[in-house]
Amino acid sequence: MALDLQFTPQQRQFRAEVRAWMAAHVPRTALATLEGAAGFEQHRQWERTLASGNWGMVTWPREYGGRGANLIEWLIFEEEYYRASAPLRVNQNGIFLLGPTLMEFGSAAQKARFLPAMAAGEEIWAQAWSEPQSGSDLAAIRASATREGDEYVLRGHKIWSSRAAFADWCFGIFRTDPVSTRHHGLTFILVPLRHAGVRVRGIRQIHGEPGFAEIFFEEARVPLANRLGAEGQGWHIAMTTAGFERGLMLRSPARFQVAAQRLVELWRRHQDTADASLAARVAQAWQDARAYALNTYSTASRLMAGGSIGVEASLNKVFWSELDLELHRTAMTLLGARAELLPGAADAGDADGWLEGFLFSLAGPIYAGTNEIQRNLIAERLLGLPRG
């Protein structure tokens, strides 16, 4: 039935089940930041707890640790997850990006080997895309994989690799054809991070914690079985993964809706001193989060009806990253003099958490492909403007 915006009784039942489980299991006190070593382990433990309830990745088939849920149920799960203030997903590179990519391109053996451990939080994944000379221009990558017998020998230098400082595995693209250029001759390979010839060096982020890392490949050897898809197919597979990242999975609307709800509460506490324009910005933040949610339900419906997500993913990425930044800027303005106080500072009070969120929101328009690159993609692939 067209344009039917009611949840079914089964979907309501599913929501109730998630809500009850979260109420019983979400830690009462917030975990330490997942950008640091201690917090990383706490978050890994939380993934195991989730998996014990079979909630690791609800959309996956049961044999891989999922529940075979559809996309609407996924959105319901996320709503209840954020509503319960559950911890951030330390394995998002795995469950949201590599997981769906494996479903599409992986062999049966690869799926059986990697997906259950991913859903269970036993193996945490990092991305290995960017290189020092290959940022927005990703096709300029130089890191190579040379075939020797039944192994690849990896050489090169990856950087800005989120979670790599503490993760177990990374996935990335390497040049397997030495005479190839640009997006040709690239291959998608899975590499263990604690492995001979792999050296990881954390990079401290703006808040001082090593939220990302450099990875040096110094003749690291991995079996050919670690290749995803065919040799030379790496660019295509990487772009599919990037589509998941910008598209439906990485940033659930519920995350922003809960943040907007907290922003309204913050405004209520500060309304007597707040500049009049702030109420409008608060209301706008709520509307933008709602618009993102509605658009996501619309996309999910389209996908369930057999559609696909292509360049629309770029529209999503621009919208959520900019709404998140503006929402947090509004919070910082409301907090005024206390906005600069670090969590745990003597007078932090209700400023607690907003600063961390603000810093993270600043990264949004940069990671997963800068918003400038996204706007180029929208203009060229959706609107049909000529390439520069």
């Binding site: 609407i72 907007a260 209301a283 509307q287 658009n295 619309s298 180029n376």
Partner: protein, 352 residues
Amino acid sequence: MDFTFSDEQRMMAGALRTLLDDICAPAALRRVFEGQDGAAAEGRWQRLGELGLFGVLAPESRGGMGLGDADFVLLAEEAGRAALPEPLAEQAGVAVPALSEAVSAGAPLAEILGRAAEGSARIAVAHPLCPYANVPPAPTYWLVCQGDTVSLYEAAAVAAVPEASIDAGRRLVRPDLPHAGGERLAAGEAGRALSARIANRAALYTAAQCLGLAERLIQLAVAYAVARSQFGKPIGAYQAIKHHLASAQVRLEFARPVVHAAVARLTELGAQAAAAISHAKLAAGDAADLAARTAMQVHGAMGYSWEVDLHFYMKRAWALAGTWGDRNFHARRVQSLVCGGALALGPEETFT
């Protein structure tokens, strides 16, 4: 939960687009803007009636199609895309459902409802949120919302003062409202409710027109950016132009589902409905506004000229932003609902 439209719904919108490409092309709009329209307005009204469009929301027993708002919203988008001068949305999306509701409640207006559904009874709508009404060619009735009463008057009973607008594509008048007479549709609490539903419908279908306009404006700007060359290449190859247009497209894409979701709230009158309708009007109005601003900049001096068609659509976007609740009204309504505590805000409340 299904956010998609059916093939039938899309086909009907496609049929209207084809018709409007024929009867409401830019050349036709130019004649309207230059006062050379002659009998064309009458012809357009007839053609819309021949497709049965005025009766989309009327019950089949009254000669209508008996369809719902999810069917009509795509038609309103098409009317916006073409900058149709005639008030299809007010007649078919607002007046006909209001009459239909009154007839169901026992008002002796079944015959007029039947004629409104075929377009022979032409109904102008007066409401405090729309001080200047876009009226059909030769209106026969006024549907008037005043205080807590909603009444239907013969056209002759209402003095309509023409108002000159920058959007010469609409037939704009200020109704001088009568104090007595007319056929009462509803009064008291029922009158307030009907009046609120009339305003919500009109705001939503105005928002839908804004979506169509935004799409048209972006399309015109893209076509110009591809055709126009400077420094040896099409201006659309430069990132400055691309990024402007991409931003306009983002705003449009995230307004669309807000408008479509509000369709499901048209029969309600609570806080969720008010927030959904106002959000739709704001999001679509902002999308059309940004598309207009962007399209003009992309066109350069051409966009500031009378000879390029762009201004017909730009002026409609400006006009619709201020009608059926301007930005001040809808932004204040959302703000008081969101900040004031009347609205349940969490992610689990999106569809409750």
